[in-house]
C-alpha cells in the first residue's frame, strides 16, 4: 500500500488570509507631494506577504522572497504553548548542574560578553508536506527561515561557569508555558552554539524567543530553545518528550532519535505554483541549504530529472545558511518538470523521495524529510507541484 506521508491535522488547520484592500491612487505620482518621513516604515499596500498560520505554527512565504534574509515579521513560527510575554528587565538565565559555579545572568549581563553575529537558517524538523498539486513552497516547506543572529557564544558562558569533565550533555529550557526542554551534546557548545538576543540587527522577536534563544546552527528548529531561562549540564541526555515521543521517526523497524542536523535540501521557489511562465528565457530561482555546512553545488533539471545543469550560487555562500541559486532556462513551451538538487560540503546529495523510502522504509515519519521537489510545467506555462507517494 502507498505510504501516506503524515500531514498532521494540527499543522494543516490553516487560518484563511484576509483579502488585502488596495488604495485608490493618482495616475501621475509626479504631480502630488507624498507623505513625509515617519518613525517606522510600512509595506506598500500592493505588497502583502504573509505567513500562513495554523493553531501551532506559521509558515514563511518563501515564494515571495528574493533573497535569503527572512524579514523578522515573516519568520516561521512553531509554538508548543503560545508566545510568552517576557519583561526583559526581569529575565534571567541560570546555568547549573555539572559546573564549578552555578550562575544567574541577567539579559544585561549576557549583552556585556563578547558578541558574535552569524547568519544561518532555522528549520523545523517536521518541515515537509505533500498531497496535492496546488501547493506553494510555503505550503510544502515554509517552516524554514533565515536571520542574521547576534549574541554570545555558548562556550563563552560555559567558560564563565566552569564545566566539569563529566558533563557530556546539556539541557536547555524555555520559559514558555510548555517549559520546552531539549538535551544537546556538549560538543555543540564548544563548536558553534550561541545564545542570541538579536535578529536582523534588532532585538529578537517575541515569536522567536524574546529576549533570548539558543541558536544551534544546522540543528533542528525545536532544539533552538526559545525564551531560554535555564541550562543544566549533565552526564547523560534527559530523554525529554520532544526528543522521544516527538522529533523521532521510523527507520525500517526501529525509531531513530537524536537526529540533530537538517539534511541538505533545496527547492525551486520561482517558478512555482501558482505562478505562470512565459516562453523564452526564464530564470529558475530557489534556495538550498544544509545543516552540515556549506552548499557545495546546486543542480537544476528542466527535463524531469534526465539531465542536470549547474546553477549559479549567490555569494557569499555561508555555512548552514540558505543559499540562493539561479539558473537561466530557455523555455520553448513544452510541458516538462523542473527540479533542483543540492550537494553539501560533506558530499551528501539531496535524495529523491523514493531513495529516502528505500533507505528508511515506507513508514516515513514526516521528520527530517528532505526529498527533491519537482514542479510540473504545463504547455500553457501553468506551474503545479508534483506530489509524490511511495509505491
Amino acid at each position: 500500500a502507498a505510504a501516506v506521508l503524515p500531514v498532521q491535522s494540527l499543522f494543516a488547520d490553516e487560518v484563511p488570509a484576509e483579502t488585502p484592500v488596495l488604495p485608490e491612487i493618482a495616475d501621475d505620482p509626479t504631480k502630488i507631494v507624498g507623505p513625509g518621513p515617519s518613525p517606522l516604515g510600512k509595506r506598500s499596500p500592493f505588497e502583502q506577504p504573509v505567513r500562513k498560520p495554523s493553531d501551532i505554527s506559521s509558515r514563511t512565504p518563501l515564494q515571495d522572497l528574493h533573497s535569503t534574509i527572512t524579514p523578522a515579521d515573516l519568520h516561521f513560527e512553531r509554538h508548543h504553548a503560545g508566545i510568552p510575554t517576557i519583561d526583559p528587565a526581569k529575565h534571567e538565565l541560570l546555568i547549573h548542574g555539572l559546573v564549578d559555579n552555578p550562575i544567574k545572568f541577567t539579559l544585561a549581563d549576557i549583552k556585556r560578553f563578547p558578541a558574535v553575529t552569524r547568519t544561518c537558517f532555522i528549520e523545523c524538523a517536521g518541515n515537509f508536506r505533500t498531497g496535492k498539486a496546488e501547493m506553494t513552497p510555503q505550503d510544502i516547506l515554509g517552516l524554514t527561515s533565515q536571520s542574521e543572529w547576534t549574541g554570545v557564544m555558548l562556550s563563552t558562558l560555559f567558560n564563565e561557569v566552569g564545566v566539569s569533565d563529566k558533563a557530556k550533555w546539556f539541557l536547555a529550557e524555555g520559559s514558555d508555558a510548555a517549559i520546552m526542554t531539549r538535551t544537546i551534546p556538549i560538543a555543540k557548545a564548544w563548536d558553534d552554539a550561541m545564545i542570541v538576543y538579536a535578529q536582523n540587527g534588532e532585538a529578537i522577536r517575541p515569536e522567536q524567543g524574546y529576549p533570548i534563544r539558543l541558536l544551534l546552527p544546522g540543528f533542528e528548529g525545536n532544539m533552538n530553545i526559545k525564551w531560554l531561562r535555564r541550562i543544566e549540564l549533565s552526564e547523560e541526555p534527559y530523554m525529554t518528550r520532544e526528543e522521544t515521543s516527538k522529533y523521532t521517526y521510523p527507520v525500517k523497524d526501529k525509531i531513530r532519535m537524536f537526529s540533530f542536523e537538517l539534511d541538505a535540501r533545496s527547492i525551486i521557489t520561482y517558478p512555482s505554483y501558482p505562478q505562470k511562465v512565459n516562453k523564452g528565457w526564464v530564470e529558475i530561482r530557489g534556495i538550498a541549504w544544509s545543516g552540515r555546512g556549506k552548499v557545495e553545488k546546486v543542480e537544476v533539471s528542466t527535463d524531469a530529472g534526465k539531465t542536470w545543469q549547474l546553477a549559479n550560487l549567490q555569494e557569499p555562500v555561508l555555512s548552514k545558511a540558505h543559499t540562493y541559486f539561479r539558473y537561466l532556462w530557455d523555455w520553448k513551451g513544452e510541458a516538462t518538470e523542473i527540479l533542483s538538487r543540492v550537494t553539501d560540503e560533506t558530499g551528501y546529495l539531496q535524495p529523491t523521495l523514493a531513495q529516502l523510502a528505500e533507505a528508511r522504509g515506507v513508514n516515513l515519519g514526516g521528520y527530517h524529510m528532505n526529498p527533491i521537489t519537482a514542479w510540473q510545467i504545463k504547455n500553457d506555462g501553468t506551474v503545479l507541484f508534483k506530489p509524490e507517494t511511495i509505491k
Partner: protein, 176 residues
C-alpha cells in the same frame, strides 16, 4: 554529529580574560525553584506517590476534555490533545505512550511541566504520580495496584524502549 572543524566564528580572543565576572552566583533555592527536570535514571523525581485509582479520577476531571474519555483515538473525533492510550504493539496506530514512549520518567517530567495545557504547572507531585500510574496502566504497562514513587517509576521498562536507536549519520554521500 561532527563539529565544524576550526571554522568557528571569530570572537574577541586576543585579550580575553580567564573570566569576565558577569552574572551572580545562583542560590540553591533559586536552582531548586526551576530545576524540575526528571532524568531516565530517576534524578529529579520528587518525594510523593500516586496510584491508578486516584489518577483515573484526576484524568476525568482535568484531562478527558482534551484527550478523550479514555485517552484512545475514536474514528471521526478530533480532539485538542493527542491520543494517550493505545496498545503496546510497535506497529499499531496511533503513536501513544504504550507504543512510542521509551521512558516512563519522560511522562512524569512532561506532564508536570506542561499539562493540563490550559493550567500548566498546576498539578501537585502526588497528582502527577497518580496520573502517570493511571496512564501507564491504561496502556497495559503496569498493574492496577501499583503505587508509583521516585523509586519504582524509573525502573519501569517501556515497551517502545527497544525500538529506539541513536542517529549515527555523520554526513557524506550515504542516504540513510
Amino acid at each position: 554529529f561532527i563539529p565544524s572543524q576550526g571554522k568557528k566564528p571569530l570572537t574577541d580572543s586576543l585579550k580575553r580574560p580567564a573570566k569576565f565576572g558577569f552574572g551572580r552566583p545562583a542560590t540553591l533555592q533559586e536552582i531548586a525553584a526551576w530545576d524540575i527536570d526528571v532524568r531516565p535514571d530517576g534524578k529529579g523525581l520528587p518525594a510523593g506517590q500516586g496510584d491508578v485509582k486516584k489518577g483515573k479520577l484526576l484524568y476525568a476531571q482535568k484531562c478527558a476534555i482534551c484527550h478523550g474519555v479514555d485517552g484512545t483515538e475514536k474514528p471521526g473525533v478530533k480532539l485538542p490533545g493527542n491520543a494517550l492510550v493505545g496498545d503496546t504493539l510497535a506497529t499499531s496506530k496511533p503513536k501513544t505512550i504504550g507504543n512510542y514512549w521509551p521512558y516512563a520518567t519522560t511522562l512524569f517530567d512532561y506532564m508536570r511541566r506542561a499539562m493540563p495545557y490550559n493550567l500548566p504547572g498546576s498539578l501537585s507531585n502526588n497528582e502527577v504520580y497518580s496520573i502517570t500510574a493511571y496512564l501507564l496502566n491504561a496502556n497495559k504497562i503496569i498493574k492496577a495496584d501499583v503505587v508509583l514513587d521516585a523509586k519504582n517509576l524509573p525502573k519501569i521498562v517501556m515497551p517502545a524502549k527497544k525500538l529506539f536507536i541513536m542517529d549515527d549519520r555523520k554526513g557524506g554521500p550515504e542516504i540513510k
